[in-house]
């Protein structure tokens, strides 16, 4: 008997919860009055958001010149932030869609938050392509639409146009996926709600979910289909984003390696962002039983994997530069490592490659604060990765007479902070009004690893 128990895999959810408990545990924080800590966090993030809004307002009113760009360096913070946020998004889709298809049951307690993160991240990302244009009020010209210019379409050869399609698709699908997944839980909220407005609102949003057998069946099918739809997006979106650089002639950008490199980087950064958020959430909302050390452990393993892929890409870039025999290419990479912006490069390497290696040790994976700190490092490192790729390459291209340096202005920094403000504001509101854990799904894996009947994985 004892042996039998020992052979079982560890359960996914600790504390031997009853179904009712699950519902309660997850919904309680929403129904209780928000803690002071929450208010504090919201105040902080929303003031950041306001700062960002002011910065963007000023920039649009006065001109892109309020950024530190120049005739040599046409992109810097703007596109760096864009790629950074798009990257963050990927983990969400990966967890919710890919892991779903791979029947990774442990995902159930993190997928909801991860998907939310995806959507918010894509929102943040979406701002930058628009505001980085010289005439944002004409940004809609990037979409093909019938016009009186006889007719004048967009340039389908331009990666920026592909971006438009990729990102809008990505956002739509992720949002839909998230919302469908929310339906049963919204219904739960509706049924538990005491406040009238909450009942009415949840009622409308839950589209009259009644938990009927047929409802569940349809739900499962749609969810599976959307998962199937979402999975290729994980690959496609960042591949296309990477083409913004890969299709150019600029040494340091013009690299066939970019698509896989960027996708890996995206999942890497996304995973660490999920870790960051989950670790905060489980602490604040006392969800340790649901988001267990085992979840953190698994995600940490994914982080190591992607970190190594990214590291390999860094090495490959240098090798290809050497192998290409193009002195421009070789110089650009030497310049990255040893040129005037070496600090950015080494920040990137240490944050993305060296520090994550600590996660090889089980003891560190099990020690939550360490994992948290590492995940923060990775976020910083991944931001710098994009910064290094964009800025150092631009600052030292073909003609020495063009070489110049770049320094961000106050406006740019404020805009970056503003994007974080937006992200966290949205996330805090999400924690407040939506179950951060997919109640229905968790119930499905509740007995997992406890009774003998269920042992699949």
């Amino acid at each position: 008997m004892a042996d039998a128990v020992l052979t079982l895999r560890p359960p996914l959810i600790d504390g031997d919860k009853s179904i009712a408990q699950v519902t309660h545990d997850v919904c309680a924080p929403m129904e209780a009055r928000p803690s002071g800590l929450w208010w504090l966090a919201l105040a902080a993030s929303s003031s950041l958001l306001l700062l960002g809004a002011l910065a963007i307002g000023y920039q649009i009113a006065v001109g892109v010149g309020t950024w530190g760009l120049n005739r040599t360096i046409g992109w810097a913070f703007d596109i760096t932030n864009f790629v950074f946020w798009i990257g963050i998004g990927h983990a969400g889709t990966l967890i919710s869609a890919v892991l779903f298809l791979f029947r990774q049951r442990w995902r159930t307690s993190v997928n909801r938050a991860a998907e939310a993160m995806t959507i918010f991240a894509v929102m943040c990302a979406g701002i930058f392509p628009i505001i980085h244009t010289g005439r944002p009020w004409f940004a809609y010209w990037l979409f093909p639409y019938p016009n009186t210019r006889g007719s004048l379409w967009v340039n389908f050869r331009s990666p920026l146009v592909w971006d438009c399609f990729a990102i809008s698709t990505y956002f739509t699908v992720s949002a839909m996926f998230w919302f469908i997944g929310l339906l049963p839980d919204l219904a739960t909220i509706r049924d538990r709600a005491t406040a009238k407005w909450r009942r009415r609102l949840a009622g409308i949003l839950s589209l009259g979910w009644n938990g009927s057998y047929r409802g569940w069946q349809r739900y499962e099918v749609v969810y599976l289909l959307l998962a199937g739809l979402g999975t290729p997006l994980v690959i496609s979106v960042h591949t296309i984003v990477s083409w913004d650089f890969a299709t150019s002639v600029l040494p340091g950008w013009h690299a066939t390696l970019f698509p896989p490199y960027f996708v890996a980087g995206a999942i890497f950064s996304g995973m660490s962002m999920v870790l960051t958020l989950m670790i905060i959430a489980r602490k604040l909302m006392r969800l340790e039983d649901y988001i267990t050390l085992r979840h953190i452990d698994r995600m940490a393993k994914l982080v190591i994997l992607t970190s190594c892929i990214v590291g390999l890409s860094y090495a490959t870039e240098f090798f290809i530069a050497l192998y290409s025999g193009s002195s421009y290419e070789q110089f650009v990479f030497l310049n990255r490592a040893m040129g005037p912006m070496f600090w950015a490069y080494w920040t990137m390497v240490s944050c993305n490659l060296l520090i994550p290696q600590l996660l090889w040790f089980r003891r560190i994976r099990a020690y939550v604060p360490a994992v948290f700190v590492i995940s923060i490092f990775v976020n910083i490192g991944m931001w710098f990765e994009r910064f290094v790729i964009i800025v150092t390459s631009l600052s030292r291209d073909f003609l020495p007479s063009n070489w110049f340096h770049y320094a961000p202005t106050r406006i740019e920094i404020a805009t970056l902070m503003g994007s974080f403000g937006l992200f966290f504001t949205l996330f805090l509101l999400f924690c407040r009004f939506v179950p951060v854990i997919a109640v229905a799904e968790v119930k499905g894996v509740l007995k997992y690893g406890i009774s003998h009947e269920e042992g699949d994985s």
Binding site: N147, T148, R149, G150, S151, L152
Partner: protein, 249 residues
Amino acid sequence: MKETANHSRVRKYLGSAFLTLVLLTALAFSLLVLVPKFSAYALPGNQRGYEPAQPIAFSHRLHAGELQVQCLYCHSGAERSRHAGIPATNVCMNCHRFVSASLGAIRAEDAAAKKEGREPRRIVSPEIQKIYDALAITDQMKPEPTKESRPIQWVKVHNLPDFVYFDHRPHVNAGVACQKCHGQVETMERVRQVEDLSMGWCVNCHRAVDRTGLDGKGNFTAASAPAAHGNTPVTHRVYASIDCSTCHY
């Protein structure tokens, strides 16, 4: 029992068919009503139909239509310059030095004078008087030192945004009729913009001309290119480029 079943089925069938029919007619009607409305809808910046009042009630119908004055007689710039140009006031004077009023009015005055047995006075129509005022001259064509001459401030009818560089020369010299863009001006009392002058409108005409040629001249093709490059001038063929820099620079 059975009948009723059939009956109901039939009724259901009929009902749905009827419904479909109703819906279809409704759709047809709405299309009939909406589509023309929609096509008539002008986008912002489209000034088709613009017909501003002018300082002088100059009638193109009278001058270009009835009197058959050639367009280029007054708008002589069209051949030589980007701007067709508004005629200088002394161009008006070529005729209006002598013509100061409508024939009817002058006849009437002559009749009246004969009746009263006096010299007929010179009749000057109020509109033509404005020309004389502009030049500060009397109806006897003598300068009026007291008045200061000031040019007539016509209101421009056909306006393009100024990132568009339209040039009359190639069009006029290629044989594009003025009416093609300006409409039947010779029938207008007051000039009205008849085309929307949108980019699409320009480009489509250029495309057409490139296919068909214009005014008896062939179109410029890659086949005709070598010749065009040697001695025979490009200009023996019509070539309406749709390069951006044809109009935008």
